[in-house]
């Protein structure tokens, strides 16, 4: 299969990739038809779990996404040159596998032929440079491999041993195109002109018209019918249709034009986008949403193509970027990353971003907003909130506590922590549910009812809320917020304020009664008064002025470490010290931790120890039954020495655990 596929691919991709232009609808159509042709059912079943890499294909075929899916839609949406779709059930690494199920009756509506094919077919989507460009900006041009991973309803289909590629059989392609056409509304901005579609004659022909077409097709199913026949035929028809339907899409495409984004936009390491199921922009981490409307359309199209087949698009890989898609209805989230973070980590980051939206609006309110107004512009509800999205993204990129799904406590003598906790408990009023004392992103104390816990994820959101919406200098804050893990359907009311003049220690009081703002203010007043009387504040300030350092452990060669206690979901980690002076150094080390974490947690082989050694440092990850630890040593440390030191460190931490962790107490 590989051969066939590759060839087909080439045709689409071969040419240099010009600017992102719309994919030719016709091409797509063809591709579809081809894919469908082979025995659908058989292939489908086989295909389900596979992902494919384009790289396996011949070199020429560069950036294309092959989606194996029954769905024709898939192709149509992207508008990208979905030209080649070969259905080869067994190709070593086919391009993208969409473990889609059979096409539903939709296809049948379209051209007769198409309908046949549609059912079980798998699709190979080619997303040429255009898509890549549009999404990533031109960086993709060098894409050698593109890997699409789709989740078959339940299972993540990552790379599976048996990858199926689809060949372009002219016949199969037709079906797909038809359905795609049915999907309207996608701004067809992207279709990159397949430039010189050297390989496939069809492609090349299509291209000129293609740019335009995508839009037209989406709207109506007729295009599909036209497509059905052979490649050539489809092309012609497609072009016609295109011309007939000028489109809003074109405008979009123009907007997408690479020139529209400022150069810096392309160099960002990670983009995060939120949009509605209707493709309405909600948030963009970099740049203004309104400037990249077309891009949202493309992303939405990709997602919904796959969804139409009751499947979910999870991620697309190119040689230098990872596109991660997640649907948290009614929101759709996409991250485009050129970091080394793996898909799972980025998906978790997107979940946080979603939770950030829920934090302010609640899941039920979100659902209600979109229920009757599919086109609702959520940005109206988000005035002043984008900074919190930015904040949570920074948080998840920097924090060990996010990586390890835990919280970090400010190290301090147990007696002092108990004193703070006792102060909270003694001034507790009946309306109070949670009381938390924070120092920036570390916890000093938590008081909670016996029957309710508060998860690390919710605490992270609270930290972001307190830190990003800093009240320093502007009094005490009182706002309704939702802790998604606690209850994503309702609000809690949060009072927060800084309680120290000199350090960023804040007190967060949470109640479930919205009219208790005065009560909370009074409660806070009593707590502060007692803390002042006991000089608790002074003690805290002293603790904060002498941070915990790795040198405190007296372990030789140890530069830094992160230790997580699984049972308490808490971690301990020293401040960064030499040689990690700059933000860049720190981020680089954190990235290494992420990498080691990924190896330990997401590898096929079960490992409990992983070394990562380079000229700068050696990082060792060690998984134990009740804890895990990540240590950074100088690069000259031998493995036995490193292991021995880790052993010593573990014993040291156990001796000091009262200082690092909140153990019991704080419950009423």
């Amino acid at each position: 299969m590989g051969d066939e596929d590759t060839t087909s691919v080439r045709s689409t991709t071969n040419g240099t990739i010009p600017a992102p232009s719309s994919c030719l609808p016709e091409e797509a159509i063809e591709a579809r038809s081809s894919s469908t042709t082979p025995t659908p059912h058989d292939q489908v079943t086989e295909n389900l779990p596979s992902t494919s890499r384009l790289q396996d294909l011949e070199p020429q075929s560069r950036s294309r996404l092959c989606a194996e899916s029954a769905s024709d839609h898939f192709v149509s949406r992207p508008r990208s040159n979905a030209s080649d779709y070969a259905s080869n059930p067994r190709s070593p690494r086919a391009s993208i596998d969409l473990g889609l199920k059979e096409c539903s009756g939709e296809s049948s509506q379209n051209g007769g032929e198409s309908s046949h094919n549609a059912t079980p077919a798998k699709l190979n989507l080619d997303i040429d440079s255009e898509l890549a460009k549009s999404l990533l900006n031109g960086s993709l041009t060098s894409v050698d491999e593109v890997e699409l991973v789709v989740e078959d309803n339940e299972d993540l289909i990552m790379e599976s041993p048996s990858v199926h590629q689809k060949e372009f059989s002219p016949e199969a392609s037709s079906e797909l195109s038809a359905e795609f056409a049915g999907e309207t509304g996608v701004p067809g901005e992207e279709g990159a002109s397949s430039g010189a579609g050297s390989g496939g004659s069809v492609v090349s022909e299509l291209e000129p018209g293609a740019m335009v077409e995508p839009v037209g097709r989406t709207s109506s199913g007729r295009d599909l019918q036209l497509v059905t026949p052979g490649d050539t035929v489809s092309d012609d028809e497609g072009s016609e249709t295109v011309s007939e339907v000028p489109l809003p899409v074109e405008d979009d495409s123009e907007e997408l034009g690479a020139q529209e984004y400022p150069p810096e936009w392309y160099t960002k390491q990670k983009h995060v986008f939120i949009f509605s199921e209707a493709g309405k922009p909600i948030y963009s981490r970099h740049g203004k949403e309104e400037n990249i409307v077309g891009l949202y359309g493309v992303m939405q199209a990709l997602l919904s193509c796959v969804q139409d087949n009751s499947d979910d698009l999870n991620c697309i890989r190119s040689s230098d970027r990872l596109f991660v898609f997640r649907c948290h209805p009614p929101l759709m989230l996409v991250a485009v990353s050129d970091t080394t973070e793996c898909e799972e980590q980025i998906a978790r980051q997107l979940k946080y971003v979603h939770h950030q939206a829920v934090f302010f609006l609640t899941q039920s309110h979100l659902a209600r907003l979109f229920k009757n107004r599919h086109n609702y512009d959520l940005r109206r509800q988000l005035t002043g909130l984008p900074k919190f999205f930015n904040g949570i993204i920074e948080f998840v990129e920097e924090e060990h506590s996010f990586l390890l799904e835990s919280v970090q406590c400010l190290p301090m003598p147990q007696s002092l922590r108990n004193e703070v906790t006792a102060t909270l408990l003694s001034n507790r009023c009946p309306e109070l549910v949670f009381a938390i004392v924070l120092y920036e992103r570390q916890i000093i104390s938590v008081v909670r009812p016996k029957q309710y816990a508060i998860t690390p994820q919710d605490l992270h959101l609270l930290m972001n809320y307190v830190q990003t919406g800093s009240t320093r200098g502007h009094g005490e804050k009182w706002a309704p917020c939702c802790l998604p893990d606690f209850n994503d359907g309702g609000y809690l009311y949060i009072h927060d304020s800084y309680i120290s003049e000199t350090v960023n220690v804040s007190l967060v009081l949470i109640t479930n009664e919205r009219e208790q703002h005065i009560t909370m203010i009074n409660c806070k007043q009593r707590i502060v008064e007692q803390m002042v009387a006991q000089k608790t504040m002074d003690k805290l300030e002293e603790i904060i002025s002498t941070p915990f350092l790795s040198s405190d452990t007296k372990i030789p060669h140890l530069r830094h470490f992160v230790y997580k206690s699984k049972s308490s979901q808490q971690l301990v980690s020293p401040e960064y010290t030499v040689p990690y002076n700059s933000d860049e150094d720190r981020r680089s080390l954190h990235t290494k931790y992420c990498h080691v974490y990924d190896k330990l947690h997401h590898s096929d082989q079960k490992m409990s120890i992983y070394y990562d050694i380079d000229s700068r440092e050696s990082v060792v990850g060690y998984l134990m039954s009740s804890s895990e630890i990540y240590c950074t040593f100088s690069p000259f440390v031998t493995r036995p020495v490193a292991l021995n030191n880790i052993d010593k460190l573990l014993k040291w931490i156990r001796r000091e655990e009262n200082r690092f962790f909140i153990l019991g107490s704080g419950v009423y």
């Binding site: 302010f360 609006l361 109206r380 509800q381 005035t383 002043g384 909130l385 900074k387 919406g469 800093s470 009240t471 200098g473 502007h474 009094g475 005490e476 804050k477 009182w478 706002a479 309704p480 917020c481 949060i494 304020s497 800084y498 309680i499 120290s500 003049e501 919205r514 009219e515 703002h517 203010i521 007043q525 502060v528």
Partner: protein, 212 residues
């Protein structure tokens, strides 16, 4: 509120406490007004208020120390439903609009109506046309604001949180109108219905800046 500077610490003994709420469309400068009043600061890019913020500040009027407990509310629509809990028990309100944005003036009028209906009857209301420093871009004339204020017995001033013009005057004028008797505000409220008198006093006031 840990150690917020109080201007008139010594006079605490006589301090009367009043709840004051700021209302108005988002981005008209409510937080900036409060920050100018409480801290004497101004930030060109004041962060959007989420929910509401609570601050206090004291002023001395005619030898009497008045402590304002200020609820600076968020202007966004999604927090509108929470507004009643801030103004319900308030003795005073400042309704703010942006003189360069007519829509915010209309929104201010609707706040006045809402307070008329639902706030306590003796509430002292001030209407503040903020961003006076941008008067070359004004979309709402002084006379218009002033006329509306007179019609509804409101204190009226045009203010600028950026330059500080009239900011503390608004609070001082409000303080003058509030009952100076310790007892429950309710009783005083009627007496205080000073609004009428006030007009006389403040009558010149509406001109705001000029008054300064």
């Amino acid at each position: 509120m840990s150690g917020r500077p109080r201007q008139n610490g010594p006079a605490q003994a006589k301090a009367l406490q009043f709840k004051l709420v700021l209302l108005g469309e988002s981005a008209v400068g409510k937080s900036s007004l409060v920050l100018r009043f409480v801290k004497g600061q101004f930030h060109e890019y004041q962060e959007t208020t989420i929910g509401a913020a609570f601050l206090t500040q004291t002023v001395t009027v005619d030898g009497v120390t008045v402590k304002f407990e200020i609820w600076d509310t968020a202007g966004q629509e999604r927090y509108h439903s929470l507004a009643p809990m801030y103004y319900r028990g308030a003795q005073a309100a400042i309704i703010v609009y942006d003189i360069t944005n007519r829509d915010t003036f209309e929104r201010a009028k609707s706040w006045v109506k809402e307070l008329d209906r639902q706030a306590r009857k003796d509430i002292v209301i001030a209407l503040a046309g903020n961003k006076f420093d941008l008067s070359n871009k004004r979309m709402v004339e002084v006379e218009e604001g002033s006329a509306y204020a007179q019609e509804h017995n409101l204190i009226f001033m045009e203010t600028s949180a950026k330059t500080g013009d009239n900011v503390s005057n608004v609070f001082v004028e409000i303080a003058k109108m509030l009952p100076k008797v310790e007892p429950k505000p309710n009783n005083n409220g009627q007496t205080v219905r000073i609004d009428d008198n006030q007009e006389a006093q403040n009558g010149g006031g509406p001109g705001c800046c000029s008054k300064n």
